[in-house]
Symmetry: C2
Subunit: 191 residues, 2 copies
DNA sequence: CTGCGAGTATACAGACCGGTATGGTTATGT
DNA sequence: ACATAACCATACCGGTCTGTATACTCGCAG
């Protein structure tokens, strides 16, 4: 029963998802074939298709897990470094981002995926939008909890700085982008 | 003589570049094959390779011309709508962006290209960085000419809002992103 | 009139793509 | 003891990928 939905939570399935995630992020989705993924994961294409059904669904699983892990990291980071509401808690999101992205120069996985999948009916597109909307509403919530007026607008502005920083740092190669975005955010919150 | 450098400025060469540009932007670089480009341009692969040498060089030509045209559009827009230095001239960049991107929901061509080419030695990568650096220094210059203190920092902040707006609007599907970025920019310039 | 650049048309090479088929092995739980 | 899930190994399918080869036509400038 349940022929369409597979269970990827097996040792080989985990290896496949780990390998695919690294390769997709590092080289791009279309640049990585299923043969390579199976090879690098020390398994076979048969197992890959038994676990995930198709490359598209594997891509969607990659994006979904990446979003899940980033949110978990961010939540933990905020709880530890900025547990109290206030402007510092908003700025701590940028600190978390900077720490998370250190050593990763391939930018935002969701923006990159959008570049390859956008405009199609690929199952990954829903995950991409979901991530952006989550970050947007997180900023709005944090700004509101900080007692800053007009949190919908100011939170949106903070979110734009967050997104812009990732692009500027990676595609633009501008090394100070995360610090700049944090400074701009502080300025906006104080205005 | 001059075997490596071809001259793409011929009728068929122009058709190929036009067709390739539209397809690359709309569907992504790796998703579009040279056969399709030649077909849609009403010519042959032979001619494509005679004019551009390789797909990689055609991609680089696509990016270079896109940057060139955007800068020309932006320069004209500023000269017409905000000829005098001042904060309004900085904000006019966002107006130009909004007008330019109306009807185009596939985001920044350079960010998209970075998603597919980043981390390689593809000739297009230089064009990508060049564009981001141009926009960065343009913002710094405009902010400086407006007489605003610390133009290096404030210009950088404006640039981050600019980049973030494109991502939020396209990958994130957030329709008000350009207006939000303009408002945030005004707020920053006034602070 | 002749040489050349530009273009058309078609076929091919060699690799890689996503996906399927067949068949055998091992571990586990009933 | 027997089914089942998970896995490995290998071969294959039709299609597409970038890039090259061959051979022809046309217009133009020296």
């Amino acid at each position: 029963m349940c022929a369409t939905v597979r269970n990827p939570h097996t040792p080989a399935g985990a290896r496949i998802l780990d390998t695919a995630s690294a390769l997709f992020y590092e080289r791009g989705i279309r640049a990585v074939g299923v043969d390579l993924i199976a090879d690098e994961a020390g398994t076979t294409k048969k197992t890959l298709y038994d676990r995930f059904g198709s490359k598209d669904e594997l891509v969607a699983a990659y994006l979904a897990r990446r979003a899940e892990r980033w949110i978990a990291f961010l939540t933990d980071y905020l709880a530890e470094h900025a547990p109290e509401p206030g402007p510092q808690r908003v700025l701590a999101v940028m600190d978390a981002l900077k720490e998370r992205m250190s050593g990763q120069d391939r930018g935002c996985a969701f923006v990159n995926a959008f570049a390859e999948l956008g405009g199609t009916d690929h199952p990954g597109n829903a995950v991409i939008r979901e991530d952006k909307h989550y970050m947007r509403s997180l900023f709005i919530r944090l700004v509101g909890e900080a007692g800053i007026p007009d949190p919908a607008a100011v939170g949106a502005h903070a979110h734009l700085l967050y997104e812009g920083a990732i692009v500027a740092r990676t595609a633009g190669g501008l090394e100070g982008a995360y610090d700049e975005a944090r400074a701009a955010m502080a300025r906006l919150l104080a205005a």
